[in-house]
């Protein structure tokens, strides 16, 4: 069972990232997946969370998700060292969209906004971060499944660009 948490702000599309991951794993792969947002009266601009569970078996667990295999930040201003304690184990990773450099062994950074701006022309970095996540979480989700998920979920006009953005992060792990 892989457990993943996404951090973003209302409006940044972090939950769309979680949904794409779920679609990839459960519809375009043989896995089972859940995706759920943080529940609450959050307004635009307020920090929000998204969650995934991915497993080879049917997932029936409906309790809150606390310890994670991966924690993804779409915005580094939301990052705080205290989240390190939410990692499930030694190998668990925090993936951050940032220009900063982090030296912690469980943290990886990528300038996803830059990639998004270059490829998509807008600073929406969820598909980039999905690629970055897929690069590490190979057992959780397949490359091809992600691309299928993006293609199926987005309007054709933007799907290909997003696939490109996804690939960029997946393949190069940044620029």
């Amino acid at each position: 069972m892989f457990e993943i948490r996404w951090h973003g702000r209302g409006g940044q599309g972090s939950f769309t990232g979680a949904k794409l991951l779920g679609v990839a794993a459960s519809i375009y792969d043989e896995k089972f997946a859940q995706a759920f947002p943080s529940f609450g009266p959050e307004r635009r601009g307020a920090p929000v969370l998204g969650f995934n569970r991915i497993s080879n078996e049917k997932i029936t667990d409906r309790s809150e998700l606390t310890k994670c295999d991966y924690i993804v930040f779409l915005d580094d201003t939301l990052f705080d060292e205290s989240v390190l304690s939410d990692l499930k184990n030694e190998d668990a990773l925090i993936l951050i969209n940032t220009q900063r450099v982090f030296s912690h062994k469980n943290i990886r950074g990528i300038d996803a906004t830059k990639i998004a701006l270059e490829i998509l022309g807008i600073p929406i970095s969820n598909t980039v971060m999905l690629g970055y996540l897929a690069r590490y979480a190979k057992e959780a989700v397949r490359y091809q499944a992600c691309m299928d998920a993006i293609r199926a979920s987005m309007k054709p006009s933007i799907a290909e660009k997003n696939i490109e953005a996804f690939k960029c992060a997946y393949e190069q792990g940044g620029l």
């Binding site: 459960s26 997932i59 667990d61 409906r62 309790s63």
Partner: protein, 394 residues
């Protein structure tokens, strides 16, 4: 052809509704039901679903419009939650007394005050006396499937009663998972067009509906309604079997047992917490503990006999309630206890109240419930009612 999609519970219901081809949908928005009605509106505005969508001004009117539409024989759907459910309370026994086969989705949510938009089951438990069939689902697939089944149950000539499908707020309504959407053809075959019924208004023999009956007659009307609802249990089972044979997914009718046959202690659950409990049961079984689970899917009509059958081998029973009847205990607990008394079966039962106002019920909580039940089985004294995960001392 059926297809798979990644849907949350609300969307799953919306697809179930679409496949059921309602004639009229009247609804008023309320978190966490909104996604369902938004999705249905988009089907309508996109021309994918041909029905009268009524933007009503309140839930009381949502149900009243549904009553109007259903009373001329239109297949009718609505959806609500919490405050909305209570705001339409007057119309619920109204519709059931009139034997109108309305189907309603209720996104279970806490009741004010204090206000809270998260999921618990106080709303539906408030309304168990309303004469509606009360169904609880565990996941998005069951939500979709039961939406379709519900129309068939409601419109069955011997049932002819409104049905409420309860989905736990957020943990079901907003959680995405893979759902199989059956093909329109298959659903059309399972659920034919509704042709109305003789007690509804019609052109051939005009009817007067929702009439009054004085003390000379009222009791007979009510007893007839009650008798038919009791008898509906059997039809619910049959329809679930039919569904299973056509779609390959069945839910065990009114109740589903999980590793219950030889269980020494059994937890009775409704809705989504069942899924979490399954995980704990598996773990405890792996440790060799004889624990089991009974998922109460239908709370009205209340399946006394089947419940007794499923728990008969267990020594101690725990009932998980995501609601409190203030000044007493969890409502399911009260209901289950009575089933034991009237069946003349003595078991020890314990009430585990949790999840109020969206408070998480963790696997550890459930683990502890099982442990307590085992202690009780072993003769230790535990409290009749325990509150889980209360973050401070009483």
């Amino acid at each position: 052809m059926s297809r798979n999609a990644f849907l949350n519970g609300d969307e799953a219901v919306a697809y179930g509704v679409k496949r059921s081809r309602p004639n009229v949908v009247a609804a008023y928005p309320i978190t966490p039901q909104t996604i369902t009605v938004e999705k249905i509106s988009s089907f309508v505005q996109n021309g994918e679903l041909d029905c009268e969508y009524m933007h009503v001004e309140s839930e009381h009117s949502a149900m009243a419009c549904s009553i109007g539409a259903s009373s001329v024989g239109a297949r009718t759907f609505t959806a609500t939650s919490s405050q909305g459910l209570l705001y339409m309370a007057e119309c619920l026994p109204y519709a059931s007394g009139a034997r109108l086969p309305i189907v309603m989705m209720n996104a279970n949510r806490a009741l004010a005050t204090p206000w809270n938009i998260y999921g618990d089951q106080m709303d539906v438990m408030f309304l168990l006396n309303s004469g509606w069939v009360q169904i609880f689902v565990e996941d998005a697939q069951e939500a979709l499937d039961m939406t379709i089944q519900s129309f068939k149950i409601a419109e069955h000539e011997s049932v002819m009663a409104p049905v409420m499908i309860n989905l736990d707020g957020f943990v079901l309504t907003h959680t995405y998972e893979k759902v199989n959407i059956p093909s329109q053809e298959a659903v059309d075959q399972f659920l034919p067009t509704f042709l109305g019924a003789h007690h509804m208004m019609n052109d051939e023999m005009p009817m007067s509906m929702c009439i009054s009956a004085g003390n000379q007659h009222n009791m007979e009307f009510k007893i007839k309604q009650h008798r038919d609802l009791l008898r509906a249990l059997e039809i619910i089972e049959t329809i679930d079997s039919e569904f299973e044979s056509q779609f390959g997914r069945g839910y065990g009718g009114a109740l589903e047992g999980y590793k219950h046959e030889d269980a020494e202690v059994i937890l009775v659950t409704t809705g989504s917490v069942t899924g979490t409990a399954r995980v704990v049961v598996d773990r405890l079984r792996a440790e060799g503990k004889r624990v089991g689970l009974v998922k109460l899917r239908v709370v009205r009509p209340f399946p006394v006999e089947k419940l007794m059958e499923l728990v008969k081998n267990a020594k101690t029973i725990g009932i998980v309630d995501k609601n409190i009847s203030f000044g007493y205990e969890g409502t399911l607990y009260t209901n289950v206890n009575s089933a034991f008394v009237q069946s003349g079966i003595k078991k020890e039962t314990y009430n585990f109240i949790g999840g109020i106002g969206g408070r998480d019920i963790t696997k550890d909580d459930i683990h502890e419930m099982y442990e307590n039940l085992q202690l009780a089985s072993a003769g230790e004294q535990i409290d009749a009612v325990t509150y889980y995960n209360v973050r401070c001392t009483l």
